[in-house]
């Protein structure tokens, strides 16, 4: 299956092309075409999973575990499709919401290098290769967050950079220890060896290092500081990309690693995950409810939602993992969408600050609908995607007897609801404040500008209506994760070195 490598190589070609192309119109066109191609390829890959459940590609024809293998199972397939849908929507969105300055600054180069890194991280079956993709993501996001060079962005950029660099340092150290212990880097092979090995001496310390690394990336409770300090400073398109993709890569890897490798001393880790998940949810939710800037509310809200995904990992039943995956996908779509909408609100009203704006309901009912879709999805209103995401997690939690975390999850859902209603009330229902300076200028968004949000909103709705299908996939993914024999066998191809 050579096509597995395409989600990495397509963005790579696009990087090259974008370095060469200087005309911004052409760049837009190419980026839309390229990301459409990417989406189609991802979809094709996902569909072709049907027969074998797992697809592998040994890069350079070097058999696993000697070379680098790319592995596509249902988990990575779901993440890949979602990510490329988001990339597609954003490549349309940026046409309208990127100012010219940014476009001249080769925004698309960094956009696609980020895409490449994300796709690579989802696809790779090699631990060190994953580190490389993490670095690609990291450096691209550094550049993207400072794109524009305002003082705020530089400040946010430094914090973002510092904490994330520390994170990847932990990652590398953990990898070194893991390699020293096992002598291999192929993830399936690692899983094979670690499951067989009896002495968890170093495994736990590398697990601790990995936990720190991915905890920082995923913005977990005591490690999330970089996110609220930086996300709101960047251009809204950039923030949308980050909201949809970045922290979720961290979550993806956490789930991947802690189901595949670190199955020893599990009680400690799972309890830790539950505790941290609870704190992440509550702290994020509380912080979100106390702010009045849309971007800040939503940024803190990202953190709060990460807690749910980790909660799924901490409960560690097939249903819970499926719930975590479901939640991650739902959150990627809805979160990106709500950032897109808040960008449009800002475009229409000239401010992100809720106290300065209002009256949007009358001015643009379409915007209201577009806001309500992701907002209600995030708040968990049936039949949108978020309802099922939370339902599965709560069900899994109750069935596993983790009542405390379920209570926290429900309380956090109320915080989410509060934040969403706050934005709705203030931006849409309230009369526009008369004293505000930014009034009364209002720009009605045109249809092409709304299109990405329409697509993502429809995705949230469809994910809820056809929850059975999506849940079926996530369940398969969860089973593949929890019983990785098939994964190990497919990657190693029966080889047992």
């Amino acid at each position: 299956m050579n096509a597995i490598a395409l989600p990495i190589f397509i963005p790579f070609i696009l990087i090259f092309v974008m370095v060469a192309v200087r005309n911004s119109r052409a760049a837009q066109l190419i980026s839309v075409l390229g990301s459409t191609l990417l989406f189609v390829v991802s979809l094709y890959l996902f569909i072709s999973l049907k027969d074998t459940k797992i697809l592998t590609l040994n890069m350079g024809s070097w058999e696993a575990p000697f070379g680098i293998s790319l592995v596509l199972d249902y988990f990575s397939g779901l993440m890949l499709v979602t990510a490329s849908l988001i990339v597609l929507c954003l490549s349309v969105y940026t046409i309208y919401f990127m100012d010219d300055e940014h476009r001249n600054n080769m925004f698309y180069v960094f956009f696609f290098s980020l895409t490449m890194g994300v796709n690579g991280a989802f696809l790779t079956g090699d631990a060190f290769n994953l580190y490389v993709w993490f670095e690609v993501i990291l450096i691209s996001s550094f550049v993207l967050i400072t794109l524009g060079n305002s003082k705020q962005q530089l400040e946010g950029g430094i914090k973002y950079l510092a904490l994330n660099l520390i994170g990847s340092m932990f990652f590398l150290a953990g990898l070194g220890l893991l390699y020293g212990k096992t002598g291999t880097l192929n993830m399936a092979h690692l899983a094979h060896i670690l499951r067989a090995s009896e002495q968890p001496v170093l495994i736990n310390t590398s697990a601790a290092l990995f936990f720190m690394a991915f905890g920082i990336k995923a913005a977990l409770f005591p490690l999330f500081f970089w996110l609220p300090a930086s996300y709101h400073t960047a251009n809204i398109s950039v923030t949308s990309i980050f909201a949809g993709l970045l922290t979720k890569v961290g979550v993806y890897v956490l789930i991947r690693f802690f189901t595949l490798f670190f199955v020893q001393d599990q009680v400690f880790w799972l309890n830790l995950f539950l505790i941290i998940a609870g704190f992440t949810m509550v702290v994020g939710g509380m912080a979100a409810s106390s702010h009045y800037d849309t971007r800040r509310i939503l940024s803190y809200h990202i953190i709060s939602q990460i807690g749910y995904m980790i909660m799924g990992l901490g409960i560690y039943t097939p249903l819970a993992i499926a719930g975590a995956i479901f939640f991650t996908i739902h959150n990627m779509i809805a979160k990106t969408n709500i950032f897109l909408v808040s960008g449009m609100i800002n475009r229409s009203k000239g401010s992100f600050y809720l106290k300065d704006i209002g009256g949007l309901f009358k001015q643009s009912p379409i915007l209201a609908i577009l806001f309500i879709l992701p907002a209600f999805a995030l708040a968990g209103v049936p039949p949108l995607s978020g309802f099922f995401a939370k339902f599965i997690l709560i069900k899994a939690g109750i069935e596993a007897g983790q009542y405390l975390i379920v209570a926290v999850a429900i309380a956090t859902a109320m915080l989410t609801l509060y934040s969403m209603i706050k934005i709705w009330n203030e931006a849409f229902l309230k009369k526009a404040p008369e004293s505000s300076e930014v009034e009364p200028y209002f720009k009605k968004p045109g249809f092409p500008e709304l299109l990405p949000s329409v697509i993502l909103g429809a995705a949230s709705l469809l994910m809820g209506l056809f929850a059975a299908t999506v849940f079926g996939y996530t369940m398969v993914a969860a089973e593949q994760l929890l019983v990785p024999t098939h994964y190990i066998e497919s990657v190693l191809n029966g080889l047992n070195p």
């Binding site: 050579n2 490598a5 190589f9 790579f12 070609i13 990087i15 090259f16 370095v19 060469a20 200087r22 590609l57 040994n58 890069m59 350079g60 024809s61």
Partner: protein
């Protein structure tokens, strides 16, 4: 730093470094060296000469601009990926062929070598680009 000794020295050292770099690149597959080391060495050579004169002059003396090197490097890397797909059914698979060159004997050439050349160019571009930017003289076209 307009010291004459440095300027004279730089002229030779620069070319020495470039020659070293090419050797490192060529022999990299069999002896210490390779695309990274070669590319970094070339970058170092240009930096050395610009320390002797100034960055602007060093820049003007370049035949290809840094972004050109980057593009060239990425293109070469991309080209090196393709033959594997068509000939061996795997991305990035090594495809080798041997050619006979007078005086040097039989040389094995393969896509990994092409890949290394791509890395070489890209690293040159990267080093130069960041250096010139730091020297604050770089203009985009």
């Amino acid at each position: 730093m307009n010291s004459v000794i440095l300027q004279v020295a730089s002229k030779y050292v620069k070319w020495l470094l470039v020659v070293f770099a090419l050797i490192a690149l060529y022999r990299g597959h069999n002896f210490p060296g390779g695309g990274f080391i070669g590319g970094l060495l070339v970058g170092l050579s240009v930096i050395f000469s610009s320390l002797a004169y100034d960055a602007q002059r060093a820049r003007n003396s370049l035949k290809i601009q840094p972004e050109g090197y980057i593009a060239l490097g990425l293109l070469t890397i991309f080209l090196s990926i393709l033959p594997g797909v068509f000939l061996k059914q795997y991305f990035m698979a090594g495809v080798w062929t041997s050619i006979h060159i007078p005086f040097l004997g039989v040389i094995k050439l393969g896509t990994p070598f092409l890949f290394d050349i791509g890395v070489f160019f890209a690293v040159i571009g990267v080093t130069l680009m960041s250096f010139f930017t730091f020297s604050n003289i770089m203009k985009w076209k």
